[in-house]
């Protein structure tokens, strides 16, 4: 379980050539999340959702403002599931899992990783290479890898966007079950409103200028299915808000 505080975060990328201006990815973005919460970041392409995950994970630094993540026992463990699973193609699946582990001896790391592979029903792939698996299986390995470090905070960047609808639907259900078995705080990026409503406790809606437009609580009972009447109704409300955001001019920075 983690406590995440983003305080007036700005992130701008310098121009790539002399004729260009700097690209503003996030602008005065603030929010807090803690506990066993599932938060979805929703917004149009280029609104800074993935940038924010990179700032939280420490891959990038904010131009100004701060992002602080606190774990239960000090420094937070952060798991990251990417759009493509980012596995080392020359290493076996079990090596890919142990690669991100730093605690315990080799045997105990392997045992722990095997248990998480088993959790996603892929223990039999331990000695295979990523290229021998399907896209859906690789993504499940990515999720198992992130969960295996027993994260306080789990970052997920459109993890199902590259998958076919049927595989994605199965993984969404699986993810809900896995998350409920852990105590992690989840920050999930998507631009699929239906997916956001199905999965989250909170939806943060971001606009094109990289600012927070709305913070919407989702209090529907779990487990939820994509086709549940309540999910579909709430989805319509969120989409209406989306339309309102689209029509509002983005504040100049």
């Amino acid at each position: 379980m983690a406590q995440l505080i983003a305080d007036h975060v700005h992130k701008a990328y310098p121009p790539r050539s002399s004729g260009q201006t700097e690209v503003q990815a996030l602008n005065d973005f603030s929010f807090e999340a803690s506990g066993h919460t599932f938060v979805c970041l929703v917004g149009p392409s280029g609104c800074g959702k993935s940038t924010f995950l990179n700032l939280v994970s420490g891959v990038e630094r904010p131009t100004s403002g701060s992002v602080a993540v606190q774990g239960e026992s000090g420094r937070a463990r952060i798991g990251y599931v990417f759009q493509d699973p980012r596995l080392l193609p020359w290493r076996t699946i079990i090596d890919n899992m142990t690669y991100v582990h730093d605690d315990g001896d080799r045997k105990s790391r392997r045992r722990k990783c095997m248990s998480y592979l088993d959790m996603v029903d892929l223990a039999h792939t331990a000695d295979m290479y990523p290229g021998q698996l399907s896209g859906g299986m690789r993504q499940r390995i990515g999720i198992a890898r992130a969960l295996s470090i027993e994260p306080d905070l789990l970052l997920m960047d459109e993890p199902f966007s590259h998958l076919d609808a049927i595989t994605a639907r199965g993984l969404r259900t699986e993810l809900q079950e896995l998350w409920q078995a852990t105590g992690a705080t989840v920050l999930f990026v998507t631009h699929d409103v239906n997916e956001a409503v199905q999965l989250s406790d909170r939806i943060l809606m971001m606009n094109k200028g990289g600012t927070l437009f709305a913070d919407i609580p989702i209090t529907l009972p779990r487990p939820r299915l994509q086709t549940d009447r309540a999910v579909v109704t709430q989805q319509a409300d969120v989409l209406a808000l989306f339309e309102q955001m689209r029509l509002e001019p983005v504040a100049a920075t």
Binding site: N54, S57, G58, V59, I78, G79, Y80, F82, D84, R86, L87, L88, P89, W90, R91, D95, Y99, V100, D102, Y129, P130, G131, Q132, I149, L155
Partner: protein, 263 residues
């Protein structure tokens, strides 16, 4: 119209790829033997073989070849370490790249025999030249190749490692080195050839031991079979190293690619 006549059964090997290769080799040896009969200044395959048997029986072949192999092992190991580290650093830090790029180009353009002659003037017949010259001649080749490999290390995988706070040493061993491996192997195979040639030259000009020295000895004696014999030894050794060691290592490093996509 009927097609060409294709031999069947036992005669099929006559039209095989292997048969074509062996025929080409046999014809080259026969052609060489015939050319050798035209002039006393042209060594022949039979004369060369005869010389090598004599050289082996006298023990000189093993003594001098072992000197050369020892020097090559030390020099090429140094090439491997320096080439990979400098090439990787050039790709990793752009300032290093900017600093070394021109230096590497100049070193690549400098012929090995210049290094061999300089070594003779600087260090005489000492052991320094045969160890340093192959390093100077071969390292730039490996640097240039590794540099390209370092620029091609997938950034998404580096970001993944950084987000999971994987220790830098493990990232280097598990991610950076394997990603650069195809470039390193390709560069190292050429570097071995360049280093081996440079070692022969420096032994020829500035050493009292080694295959190059022995070739120079028979050159001075006007023994064309002797000169050619040591040339053949150098070729056979380098081909053996390339086929039996380097090619197999390169194949091993690509085993994960067999029947799979890259990433």
């Amino acid at each position: 119209m009927t097609g060409l006549l294709v031999p069947s059964g036992r005669l099929r090997w006559l039209t095989s790829d292997r048969s074509a290769r062996y025929t080409a080799r046999a014809l080259a040896v026969i052609g060489w033997q015939i050319a050798g009969l035209l002039s006393e200044r042209i060594p022949t395959p039979l004369g060369t073989m005869h010389f090598l048997v004599d050289e082996a029986l006298s023990g000189e072949l093993w003594v001098h070849l072992s000197w050369t192999l020892r020097r090559a092992a030390v020099a090429l190991s140094t090439v491997l370490v320096l080439g990979v580290l400098i090439g990787w650093a050039m790709g990793r830090w752009w300032r290093m790249g900017a600093y070394f790029r021109d230096v590497v180009t100049i070193l690549l353009a400098l012929p090995a025999f210049i290094w061999a002659l300089l070594a003779a003037m600087w260090w005489g017949f000492s052991e320094v030249g045969p160890l340093v010259v192959p390093v100077l001649a071969a390292t730039p080749m490996l640097i240039a190749s590794t540099y390209e490999g370092a620029k091609a290390v997938p950034k998404p995988l580096l970001d993944m490692s950084s987000s999971y706070q994987v220790p830098p040493a493990r990232t280097f061993r598990w991610l950076v080195l394997p990603a650069m491996a195809p470039y390193i192997f390709a560069g190292f195979r050429y570097a071995v050839l360049a280093g081996w040639g440079a070692l022969s030259l420096v032994e020829f000009f500035a050493s009292n031991w080694g295959a190059g020295y022995r070739a120079a000895f028979w050159y001075d004696a006007g023994n064309f079979d002797g000169l050619m014999g040591w040339g053949v030894v150098e070729i056979v050794v380098i081909l053996a190293i390339d086929r039996l060691v380097l090619e197999r290592l390169a194949r091993h490093s690509r085993r994960w690619q067999v029947g799979t996509e890259r990433w």
